[in-house]
């Protein structure tokens, strides 16, 4: 029997010196759902992701992933439980090659001893090659990540998440700062990788949102303004006023 929700966020609150960036927020993500979070600048979108993945400590509330409380876990424990996170600015290891970037994200040899004895066996190589093809970087495996274009770095980071194979994938503005051609390729890539897993995406590109979203949550001042299908949200007068209107 499959559980109803993979992620349960309840009464999640974080306060920075009295300012509530996220205020008693609750939402639920189903297995295989693609949830898009939209909202004006400063609505707390990125903070919500930071709270789920342990980068920011919550003031109150609960985040349950498969009934595991994430708020008390360390970042690496949350990742190993199956939650992957992509940052807004591409964060890859610039001094390492594309191959090495992917290798470090391969979910094996994550203890000190494990890393010391980790071997690049055929499984690892095959998997890295497979991922590199998916993210259009098969020809750049030996290139240092520093020499990649902005779009390629974004793809590499998506690849680093893919190789982790998380059950819940969180993407923060994956198509921001891309050229039109890169954007199209990325949308295609994302459409492929959001299959068979739950995804939370922060995005501003409404065309892209309409394309991928199962459901949309609109955040405003740390609270849910509206939630539901893209169609419903787009026609919500409150949403039009604070966000879509301009």
């Amino acid at each position: 029997m499959q559980e109803r929700f993979i992620l349960k966020v309840e009464d999640l609150t974080v306060s920075f010196d009295g300012f509530k960036a996220v205020d008693a927020l609750s939402f639920y993500v189903e297995p295989n759902e693609c949830r898009v979070i939209i909202g004006p600048n400063g609505a707390g979108k990125t903070t919500v992701l930071d709270l789920i993945c342990g980068r920011t400590k919550a003031t109150a509330g609960s985040v349950k992933f498969h009934d595991q409380e994430l708020l008390t876990m360390r970042e690496d424990q949350i990742v190993n439980a199956g939650v992957g996170r992509k940052f807004q600015t591409p964060s890859v290891y610039e001094d390492l090659t594309v191959f090495e970037n992917l290798e470090l994200s391969y979910p094996k040899g994550h203890s000190v001893f494990g890393a010391l004895v980790f071997k690049r066996d055929t499984d690892v190589r095959a998997r890295i090659k497979e991922i590199a093809e998916t993210i259009f970087l098969a020809d750049q495996l030996d290139e240092k990540a520093a020499f990649l274009s902005h779009g390629q770095k974004q793809w590499l980071e998506i690849g680093m998440l893919l190789i982790q194979d998380p059950e819940l994938l969180m993407l923060d503005e994956p198509v921001a700062g891309m050229s039109v051609a890169e954007r199209k390729k990325t949308a295609e890539l994302l459409n492929r990788i959001i299959q068979d897993r739950s995804v939370i995406v922060i995005e501003h590109d409404m065309g892209f949102v309409a394309d991928i979203a199962t459901r949309v949550t609109v955040l405003h001042q740390g609270k849910t303004l509206s939630e539901g299908s893209m169609e419903r949200v787009q026609n919500d007068p409150k949403v039009v006023e604070v966000y879509l209107g301009h």
Binding site: C53, R55, R74, E75, D76, V79, N80, G84, R85, F87, S91, V92, Y93, E94, D95, L96, T97, F99, E100, E103, L104, S105, P107, G109, H110, S111, V112, A115, L116, V117, F118, R120, L141, D142, M160, Q164
Partner: protein
Amino acid sequence: MQSSAFLSRKEMIGFALLAALIFIVFPMMLDSFRLNLFGKYLTYAFVAVGLALCWGAGGILSLGQGVFFGLGGYCMAMFLKLEASTPENTSIQSTPGIPDFMDWNQLTELPVWWQPFYSLPLALFAVVAVPVVFAFIIGVAMFTRRVGGVYFAIITQAFAAILTILIIGQQGYTGGVNGITDLRTLLGWDIRTDEAKTTLYFVNGVLLFAVLFAAQYVRKSKLGRLLIAMRDQEDRVRFSGYNVANFKIFIFCLGAAFAGIGGAMFTLQVGFMSPTLVGIVPSIEMVIFCAVGGRLSILGAVYGALLVNWAKTTFSESFPELWLFGLGGLFIAVVMLFPNGLAGVWSEKIEPRLLALLGKAPADKSAPDGAPAE
């Protein structure tokens, strides 16, 4: 393609050149006094290699490596001192059979924590274990709280100061500001003769290569690449599912172990251990050895330790008061002009020209790790 071999051809040549230098060129060219001096310089290379991993690869700058060097050196010195303090040798003391400085400080019996140092195996174990345990405690306290960068450097420097003050203050137990001196024999073998010093030089060289191979293994392992990743994007490493603190603790402890071995070899070759080798100034000098050699290169670190110490001896023989200015100037020059040190100069400037002269196409541009020019 991805080079997963333990040593690439280029690195093999670098290791071979250094081995030839240490095991053949130096012993043939230097008299036993100078050879012993170079042996002393090479004990600092142990520390510099550890720093190349901690600081160069992992970005963890420790300004307190002298602590670990000193702890290793003191563990060795305590064993040698006990061996030298036989009741016959110390019969003029009011309490014969204990180290002389204890007698001068009115101690009438050997403190309990000195007892294990009657045993050579325990003392050798302590040479590595004491620095590692100390580094582990500092590492757990700092890295799990995510203290890093400049703050970590300052705290390690404070530890260097604290240990020096502690050693000087606890004269009766540590020999105070004079340190532990008048060391004579190791299991009956007189370490003060020229032959013994030459033998110890070679033992030191072999141990240094053991440490270099260990460092090379770490560098080539996934852990080595993780260190570089942590240096650049610590957060990303965390979100790739690694407990960053554990890796930092490991590499810091490894650097401490290397430094401890170096300290013990220093004691054996030089014949004493004192707080002047533990404190802030020597700790910073050790960082300079590593910086001059090229902090990304473990072989560069060895050359840096050799070159700076050789320059120190040469200059301070002629201009003793100017040396510190020279050292400061050298450090500034390296930071401003050659951020990758000698190894960087070699792999960026000299090697391509050398290859061009030999009529070869430039080889792969892998990480700078060659032997710098003589």
